[in-house]
Symmetry: C2
Subunit: 314 residues, 2 copies
């Protein structure tokens, strides 16, 4: 399937968002097996790790090696998260295709998380932009931003919608190539999702980015349906729903990739991703992290009788 | 809250759909405590049992007693399922407010389930209509039909959409006061939900009934969002997601009432149901069925900081 035959891009964040929330460390070899299996299942964007202090997140200490070993997988865009300029330096050195930076809309979350105000985080984006602009054009990574806590915050509660949109505009001015909205702690509802992405599209045009939903309160796919309605074309998801929210013990984390692929394909939207191959990739997670609890209803129930992929020949 | 202040009716099916899928029998006293707690939480429609052979479903053997003990709860419509004329006789004798009859769109499912074709099931509805018409008007129960396997069938796979709509029309002609669509085994997707309910509305007008979604493949709330878009106003749900699908071990069953209430209220749609009181009712299930596994993301994660009910004073 060529890119022009894809209706919706699923950006797999399991190897980053998923693994960083698990205390145990998946061995590098297992990570590489998993990422290759994800690519074989048809995922075209994979966020493979995070350039953060290994003291803070030892699970991500091998991100440089992971990037170097995966950037040449054909047809796959390799992303890595960088929380700041230093992280972006690491990402560039390793040769990522795209740097992704989180900027929190919630002032309290931003201070608690990175000890910076949202405005200071925008300044950091500006510095990363300058660093990227200094790279040779042919190897220069892209820069996308996810606005975290865009739909609400576990610390401060409500987050002002006007401010979220204002921050998105500031981030584009600071040099982001795309700005998406993240429901970091499972606050979002479909009405709010429609409102915010509609405004984001109106303000940013083709720089409006991905939707990143968590399933903390079971609303992940409901919010995807709402986002599709207002034209969102890229969704983050995590295989097995890895990425649990620390505020919600027992609750699953990110939208489950397997369930999302089924939703989209059943709706007639081509993702290029094969569910059966994703199930193979699941086995690799469990080999790399024996006994880990992974989620997903489609993996439990299987594809329904009579199911056909959107892109399947009639 | 008066009925006119309700935007969406949640019809709780746990005491019927949930309990009949669990092998153990919840004692009558526990059922009554649970149903009363559901009513206290604000649910206005409760399906309390099924008039079927106690040999087939001993869990439902006390349905007559349950109906008699609950029909006088103020403001609550008490429903019971009747698969046939004999069941309807029992329901009428016990004094239900509404009889609900399932009719399967899938020929294979219908034969396997009740050894009748869909057309023969329509004939049975006609007989129940005649029986109801023979009752005194002031105590005559209503009659609603749920078309099961309306979105697909585990046995035959795809179910023809034209046929589902044709069957709905036949059922109204046979005397149903409303006809809803049920996703018995978790096949439905939001695009299909919009198509089918749009056609149902167009054909049946105000006789178009409830949406009954299962969460077998995690798509329950996504399908609710789609159904809301095309004007569906009544949704079946089951507290704790009770009602597991026999074809999907480990998968949760009905849409979880707690998660549905959160979805709707967060979207600004008034349900009259209080989530905190639902959590109290959960404890009663576990007292009645110790160790039973019940589902729900909102019960695990809690309501988010800053949450306000749609009907709450500003």
């Amino acid at each position: 399937m060529t890119d022009s035959q894809i209706d919706v891009v699923i950006s797999e964040v399991g190897p980053r968002d998923g693994l960083q929330s698990i205390k145990r460390i998946m061995p590098t070899e297992a990570k590489l097996l998993w990422i290759n299996a994800l690519a074989k299942a048809g995922l075209r964007e994979i966020e493979v790790g995070s350039f953060v202090s290994p003291k803070l997140l030892p699970q991500m200490a091998d991100t440089g090696d992971i990037v170097r070993a995966t950037v040449s997988i054909p047809g796959v865009t390799i992303l890595a998260l960088a929380p700041n300029l230093r992280g972006a330096e690491g990402a560039i050195a390793a040769g990522v295709h795209k740097v992704t930076m989180p900027v929190s809309a919630s002032r309290e979350h931003s201070m608690a998380n990175i000890r910076k105000s949202p405005e200071e985080a925008v300044d950091e984006v500006r510095k990363v932009r300058a660093l990227l602009d200094a790279q040779p054009a042919e190897t220069r990574p892209g820069l996308e931003i996810g606005i975290s806590t865009a739909f609400g915050c576990s610390l401060q509660g409500l987050v002002d919608e006007d401010w979220v949109i204002q921050l998105a505009v500031m981030l584009v001015e600071a040099g982001a190539e795309s700005v998406g909205l993240s429901d970091t702690a499972g606050h979002a509802n479909p009405a709010q999702v429609r409102r915010l992405f509609k405004r984001l599209n109106a303000e940013l045009g083709d720089k409006a980015g991905a939707a990143h939903f968590h399933n903390t309160r079971g609303q992940g796919l409901a919010n995807v349906v709402a986002a599709l309605d207002v034209g969102v074309k890229t969704f983050d998801a995590s295989q097995g729903g890895l990425g649990g929210c620390p505020y919600a013990p027992g609750a699953s984390g990110n939208v489950v990739t397997e369930d999302l692929v089924f939703l989209l394909e059943a709706m007639g939207l081509r993702t290029g991703v094969n569910v059966e191959r994703l199930l193979t990739a699941r086995a690799i997670i469990l080999e790399g992290l024996p006994g880990e609890h992974i989620y997903g209803n489609v993996p439990d129930a299987g594809l329904p009788k009579g199911f056909v992929y959107a892109g399947a020949p009639a």
